[in-house]
Symmetry: C2
Subunit: 204 residues, 2 copies
DNA sequence: CGATTTTTTGAATCATATCAACGTACGTGG
DNA sequence: CCACGTACGTTGATATGATTCAAAAAATCG
């Protein structure tokens, strides 16, 4: 499953590290030496409740979902991750506590793992990476808070249209019943909702 | 509204700073010199959309709510803050951007403000405070993610009972229609839900 | 092609929202 | 101290919209 360091250049990763962390080319190369490649097959579970997350993962290729199983054994999707996103359970990763989440690949995926020890070493070697990481957590927090408010606001239709507008890429590769779960509705409801929208098309 | 430094010892603040930041008595005293007192009357708006949050606030006394006004002009309560909690919009505070939230006092409240410049100075003088602050943001992020999942899981009744169990203090001082908004339901529904629960009491 | 996954459709049911009205508690000012 | 106004909570009748269950149709994959 895990393998050695990736050898070629990864444009998405390079670009975001240059842009957000201000990495130089050589810092980027150093950064890459801390990574491990991990391949996860479609449907395969990458992380599951009770396990400890030993790494945070950059999605180089593919698509995954993070979800919980609630008291009624119903899957609730918390987020998706596609190329150029990071995925993992930071709480489990940082505090080495058992996670409550599942992370499953929806397509054959290639992840670049930054393990806990590599992460520590990296932060020692390139302190600004630590700053970048902390700011990433902060940004995630802001957006999660907004999503929480949004979850209690408006109709399923409005939530659907908003997601369509903000994350159209997701609709091109993720089965609709997963989108339904993410929106907090049943697949049948999403189907009917979409039908209504095509019948009464958007104000021409 | 704002006044000078608080003079006496504030047990809740002292305890949490000792416990979580590992402050000594003298560090605590130094910390206090960075604070400003601010009194907010019941119903008064402490922060509103469009404004920039110039401080993060420790609630020494009282109770506040943070909410947004959604597209249908409906108030959605994101969180409450009572004694010994911090409240503010970190996104606005950190990046000096206009907030999207209202923060309103539900009781006459006393806040200790840490302004942006004080915060910077404090982090310079006591670097571990910065670490503490970053970790606080992280913890908030974990709990917000769980709340997001929970928001899509289970019935209103289950959410109500969970809140009852985890934050019983809130019910002693916050009007039920605010609790309803926090739970994402209408006041009437909360009323009926509570009636059902008293009629069919918990499995004796 | 056969098997599995995904999406759609229909009908019945159920829970919450909505609208309207009333009861109650609280606190302020006369 | 009472009276009045405001804020809060409850109740009833009705409507709305999503869920549930069952089944079929469509798409995807090996």
């Amino acid at each position: 499953m895990k393998a050695a360091i990736p050898t070629n250049i990864h444009p998405g990763l390079l670009r975001s590290l240059q842009q957000f962390v201000g990495f130089t080319q050589s810092e980027y190369e150093l950064f890459c030496t801390f990574l491990e490649v991990c391949h996860v097959k479609k449907k395969e579970i990458y992380l599951q409740p009770g396990k400890i997350s030993h790494a945070t993962a950059y999605v180089n290729k593919g698509c995954l979902r993070r979800y919980i199983l609630d008291d009624h054994a119903k899957e609730i999707i918390v987020n998706f991750a596609i190329e150029d996103w990071w995925i993992g359970d930071l709480e489990s990763f940082v505090h080495q506590t058992p996670t409550i989440y599942y992370i499953q690949a929806l397509e054959d995926s290639e992840l670049f793992l930054l393990t806990r020890s590599s992460f520590s070493a990296l932060c020692e070697e390139i302190p600004k990476y630590k700053t970048f990481h902390d700011e990433k957590v902060q940004r995630n927090h802001y957006t999660t808070l907004k999503r929480l408010a949004l979850a209690k606001s408006g109709t399923p239709e409005e939530k659907y249209l908003l997601l369509m507008k903000e994350q159209p890429q997701l609709f091109q590769r993720i089965p609709l019943h997963y989108i339904a779960s993410y929106l907090g509705i049943e697949p049948e409801s999403l189907s009917r909702l979409r039908k209504r929208l095509t019948e009464k098309p958007q104000k021409s």
